[in-house]
Symmetry: D2
Subunit: 286 residues, 4 copies
Amino acid sequence: METISCNNQTDVKITIPSLVSLKKKQEATIVKVNGVEVGGSEVIIFAGPCAVESMEQLFETAGAVKTGGAKILRGGAFKPRSSPYSFQGLGEEGLKLLSQIRKETGLPIVTEAMDTRQLEIVAKYADMIQIGSRSMQNYSLLKEVGKCGMPVLLKRGMMATIEEFLFAAEYILNHGNEQLILCERGIRTFETSTRNTLDLSAVPMLKNLSHLPVIVDPSHGTGLRWMVPAMAKAAVAVGADGLIMEVHYKPEEALCDGQQSLRPDEFNNLIIELRKVAGAVGRKIS
Amino acid sequence: METISCNNQTDVKITIPSLVSLKKKQEATIVKVNGVEVGGSEVIIFAGPCAVESMEQLFETAGAVKTGGAKILRGGAFKPRSSPYSFQGLGEEGLKLLSQIRKETGLPIVTEAMDTRQLEIVAKYADMIQIGSRSMQNYSLLKEVGKCGMPVLLKRGMMATIEEFLFAAEYILNHGNEQLILCERGIRTFETSTRNTLDLSAVPMLKNLSHLPVIVDPSHGTGLRWMVPAMAKAAVAVGADGLIMEVHYKPEEALCDGQQSLRPDEFNNLIIELRKVAGAVGRKIS
Amino acid sequence: METISCNNQTDVKITIPSLVSLKKKQEATIVKVNGVEVGGSEVIIFAGPCAVESMEQLFETAGAVKTGGAKILRGGAFKPRSSPYSFQGLGEEGLKLLSQIRKETGLPIVTEAMDTRQLEIVAKYADMIQIGSRSMQNYSLLKEVGKCGMPVLLKRGMMATIEEFLFAAEYILNHGNEQLILCERGIRTFETSTRNTLDLSAVPMLKNLSHLPVIVDPSHGTGLRWMVPAMAKAAVAVGADGLIMEVHYKPEEALCDGQQSLRPDEFNNLIIELRKVAGAVGRKIS
Amino acid sequence: METISCNNQTDVKITIPSLVSLKKKQEATIVKVNGVEVGGSEVIIFAGPCAVESMEQLFETAGAVKTGGAKILRGGAFKPRSSPYSFQGLGEEGLKLLSQIRKETGLPIVTEAMDTRQLEIVAKYADMIQIGSRSMQNYSLLKEVGKCGMPVLLKRGMMATIEEFLFAAEYILNHGNEQLILCERGIRTFETSTRNTLDLSAVPMLKNLSHLPVIVDPSHGTGLRWMVPAMAKAAVAVGADGLIMEVHYKPEEALCDGQQSLRPDEFNNLIIELRKVAGAVGRKIS
């Protein structure tokens, strides 16, 4: 049987597929991103700019987040934008900048591939492939990252149920790849004061149903810089295995999502506070 | 300026891009699908099975819908399925069956391409490319269909706003392709008694904002065979330029979406009723 | 057993209570509002201003809607407003104006009671009690209107499922009152270009599950005057037993909801078009 | 001017009314419930059964939550139930039991009034009036609790925006009552694995816009006993001024919401963990 009803313990009436299920595999999966382990006792910080814009921007921002405590650098070279008239990313040029910065900082790189053709190029430069929210049900892409042999970060679709999210993850596992991290990044609801509604209950729900690590993106989840610290603390308290946050050395000049990007000093201060919360729930941030 | 505020007449506070806008181009766009015109005074019926399954199934169903009044045949060869364990479609073999049936019935074919690589194969066989709901924000794919020179059917994402829908359409137009039909197919809401909530207000809204034709899919919009006729009549009354409906000669044996597929006799009877409604609102179904 | 699973024919997995159920009572309920029958072959038009503002406004508007074809006059004396600083209605003074207009026009009156204490006053003047969207789960009020012996118009809560709507109706029936009309008036979704999303699939769904008449409110359902005619036609086509629409003799001066109120001439023209649609689906508007 | 645009600092485009606004009154409001202060540095725990069922149930549960660390006892005597066939609460008999338990334990009582007539009875026995989620826009009730001179707990409607929530609160303040606590209790979204989606971003949002205290209800917010601890920790980390949780001495025998009620030992253990989280964010639970 390929799908199984969920744990009685959870009182949840959903059916999930077998490879992602905690019933099938009881121990937590540890995902290794160029030496960094996600899914263990440490809460891992992913940080960096929304989009790669220039060497200077990337160098300044990457240096700052490394100092602050980030273990993995995020940054987009191919950007999914609602408008064809918005900045679409630097493409392969951006990937090259990311790879140079990795050399200088030692930080592994996670960056998005938006379709099967981009996947080949992205895989040449990145340490981890990000599948974005709008691509969560791009099944052609899921099958290909399932075969690519690299760690994958799968973001929840803004309209995806927990059940659909785990079925999307199953596509990757059943094509051969278990090095997969799930990411809650906010869902679309009727509420408009925040960009999305960050569904923190997804963290305990996913961890009760699946062995895969779960991280949280409070930047896209709120769309508001000033709200990121509060939601980041809540995400650590609720049991997330990591956080992915947008940081920019000059947010007011950012080509993408500046209003939700932390400044380096805000990021530094936040990590100090997050260490206390992590300690309070038996985790740590090194 | 690349985006424009919407018509005062509409009292709607949204900003839409310029190429799709009725402000930029006042006359309605007519999309021609191998001789069939969509967007004129006639309401065009697209019908056929959810997925191509076999020659027999396709032959029986296509014959029935042609007799009933359908002008364009639908049928999926590549199927986006929530579970990797569900039937994924016959692939190129299915496209070949579709192309044989076109020869026999003369009906133009619309079928889905799920990613940029499939697009090349699908374009060899089809008369019109469908971009499915889950792909509405697959920007790589939108750019490619914008360049492909064929008519395109763009389905609204199940959680896409009208504004996002028109921005997705703009990607296709600004890559050179104005032969584009928009399709309302139901949105995701809190209501669960229907598969989706068919948002018929999208039809007058889109037609007030854009020059592009708009059709409605009451099959996915409800998920319930018995409800399709009522919603199809409402869609014609509200001003849709066409309907796309799932029909299967043996719904209880369908490999996909049988519970929302009409039987041939139900389809025939429905078209007879739809002709009356079309007449009542100054349209016709030939 | 007090609740029953719904009809197999409907393929819908919901449980509904017994008194409202079509399984329990197969013939359609006809609700009589001071001689006007709702639920038979005729589609009944309810029309009038959002709020009663003055004798002149009510007189001019009531006369116009009667001429146009309305059979029941709507108008609020007690208004539920989001802000305490908005016009709250004329209260009992408004009810007196409504009762005078009834004498002059012969039109029965439907008006809202917002709580149990208002119910007594409203019942003295009105022919039918409206329970508004925000009160659909005001169970104290539902029990009282269940005992009041007058026809009731129950509007669907903007956040209520079909199942919850029918359970709310059951409160009224099981307190002794079967003279109940259900009203779909738009639900809250992520879409913001319309005030609400008018869920027309609620009409066939409710009529498949229950024997109660169902009407539609395209004014609140869209919030946009120019969109009301298209959605009103769709509502008749989908099978509604009536329509309730806001009409104001001078919408730009309305104290409440002017932007969604039809002008008298727009209302007249709409009814002419609605008669054609009603005829096309085997109904009539006299 | 009666409404003001929100703080620039928040980057949020909403308009809120003046009395609730942090612009109008910069210091945080402290609400005093029979000696217990909510809104200061201490995080206050409200706990108790969903419904008052019997003296034994109330005595056992109240004793346990007091020992565990609760400062205010919750329990419903009038219950808003979706079905007329469900347990509707003990009514005034339940209020008497609550008042006896207050004498024995010294815990102040918060309990719901569902309409204006119940308000008089409830006010005789309770220390704080709860306005439930379904009543958030019962404006008659809001006006009356605004005049009643007692502390009020206002729960967010399950489909109310932040803006609507603050306008509902304004009704209470502008009728003379500033002793008001806001409660986030989960909103309705498309996700069905949890009973509601607990919107923890509402806490920092409300505290940035208003001077009123904000508490969180993780019991209704999740509907799942096993998930309450994780979400309670997150609520404290995000900055809530208190938590309201359902506890029952024998959840499997509860007449209402047993599946989301903590057992006394689970409650005790949770408070121990919550104290650590409170400490990590500069708060305390005594």
